[in-house]
Amino acid sequence: MSCLVKRNPRTASRQYEENTLVITPDDRQVHTLNATGTFLWNAIGEQGAEKDALLRKMAEAFDAPEETLRQDMDAFISELEGKGALIQESCRK
């Protein structure tokens, strides 16, 4: 099953070298993304991205088993969704 992952349009963000600061204005929290998080944040971009497409981009960029990458990606998405920075929608089989 693949889902469209989008940045919450209410967030603000800026990249500083390999890290990114993301602000969720509704709770006024600042979240720091590490290099992998920054890669995923940029891959999701303004338009959003399918999880399958994100996983393919990760596989191209990182030398790690697919299952490890999938777990990292799911953990990232789940955590940022919980913080209100990402939204998952239109999941399809």
Binding site: A12, R14, Y16, N19, L21, I23, P25, D26, R28, T32
Partner: protein, 343 residues
């Protein structure tokens, strides 16, 4: 990221004075009497270029201030453009010109903060400070509209002789409206050095009350650890290091009240001003150890030093401001009494 911002000069916060026109004439206003008019204000294309430059420099938070920002008819378009470029936006306003249509569009812009100045909890007190009859009711109406929409509002009060430093009713009003609040006892001279606002400063007795009130104490309380002015290698403040201000006519300053011109974006790109201006380069070299006046001061542990206040009061960026001295002595006395009582 703290280490990154300590070692890199990045203007994380930019204050943008979109207009210096105002529909109020507050008794304690620090703006200069002679200031740029509407014709001299930056145009939308000029602002767009500046915003793109700030995004490249790493600015994350834009604080829109004035004057009264809602006097600019294109304010919401500027805010929308800012959000598209990834900035978080904060608005400083007197609230009097905010309409239901504004509120609806503001919600979509997800502002990080909307800060509205209220200088009294009743029309007579507030309007006497602003010199604008009806301004209290207009501001209150805007706050209610914003809160109904679920937007976070902070009420900003200045503690003045004109409002007798009476902030209790204002806090009750803010609580009733579901607003955050801040009550500020710091009154600056005008940026053109006119001392007129200083006549509004409160005396030490009311300052003792203010700095003893747990509702008004921000940040960490003084403890046994070293405070900011006790660390010799600390920067003086963020002005010119992590903060900048762009005036309505494109002039660039280190921070809102510190009128040391670093350049004009009408002549030089914001990136070049930030990276090469001698004003900014000099500010970045200053450290706490350069503050000779503070070195032996018994109150430095309790001081809320502000370089802009010092400069505007004394003409010496590295000197000691009488207001800071007064406040640090008040805080020191409060701390001493608390320590003695074991509270």
């Amino acid at each position: 990221m703290k280490e990154y911002f300590r070692t890199h000069s990045t203007p994380v916060i930019a204050y943008l004075e979109l207009t210096l026109r105002c529909n109020q004439a507050c008794v304690h206003c620090y703006l200069e009497r002679e200031r740029p008019g509407e014709r001299e204000e930056l145009s939308r294309p000029e602002i767009r270029v500046m915003l793109e430059g700030l995004a490249q420099l790493g600015t994350l938070i834009l604080v829109f201030t004035g004057g009264e920002i809602f006097l600019r008819k294109d304010l919401l378009e500027i805010l929308e453009e800012s959000r598209k470029l990834g900035f978080a936006v904060v608005l400083f306003t007197n609230g009097t010109l905010i309409t239901p249509e504004h509120v609806s569009r503001l919600y979509d812009l997800a502002p990080l903060g909307i800060e509205i100045s209220l200088h009294g909890a009743d029309p007579a007190t507030h309007d006497a400070v602003t010199g604008a009859p009806g301004s209290f009711e207009s501001a209150l109406g805007a706050i209610r509209l914003l809160r109904q929409k679920g937007l976070r509002v902070k009420i900003k009060g200045n503690l003045l002789k004109s409002n007798r430093g009476d902030y209790n009713d204002l806090i009750a009003l803010a609580d009733g409206l579901g607003c955050e609040y801040t009550m500020d006892p710091f009154i600056f001279p005008c940026r053109d050095k006119d001392p007129a606002p200083l006549s509004e400063r409160l005396g030490p007795d009311i300052l003792k009350t203010v700095f003893s009130d747990s509702r008004l104490i921000r940040g960490k309380k003084e403890g046994p650890g070293k405070e900011y002015l006790e660390e010799p290698e600390n920067r003086l403040c963020g002005a010119g290091a992590n903060v900048l201000t762009v005036c309505s006519n494109g002039d660039v300053f280190p921070c809102l009240p510190l009128k040391l011109k670093a350049g004009s974006i009408r002549e030089t790109s914001i990136a070049r001003i930030w990276n090469e201006s001698p004003v900014f380069q000099r500010l970045r070299t200053y450290r706490v150890k350069d503050l000779e006046a503070c070195r032996e001061c018994p109150s430095k542990k309790h001081c809320l030093r502000c370089s802009a206040l010092t400069y505007n009061e004394t003409g010496d960026l590295l000197g000691c401001s009488p207001m800071s001295m007064q406040i640090s002595e008040v805080r020191r006395e409060i701390y001493r009494k608390k320590a003695l009582s074991g509270v």
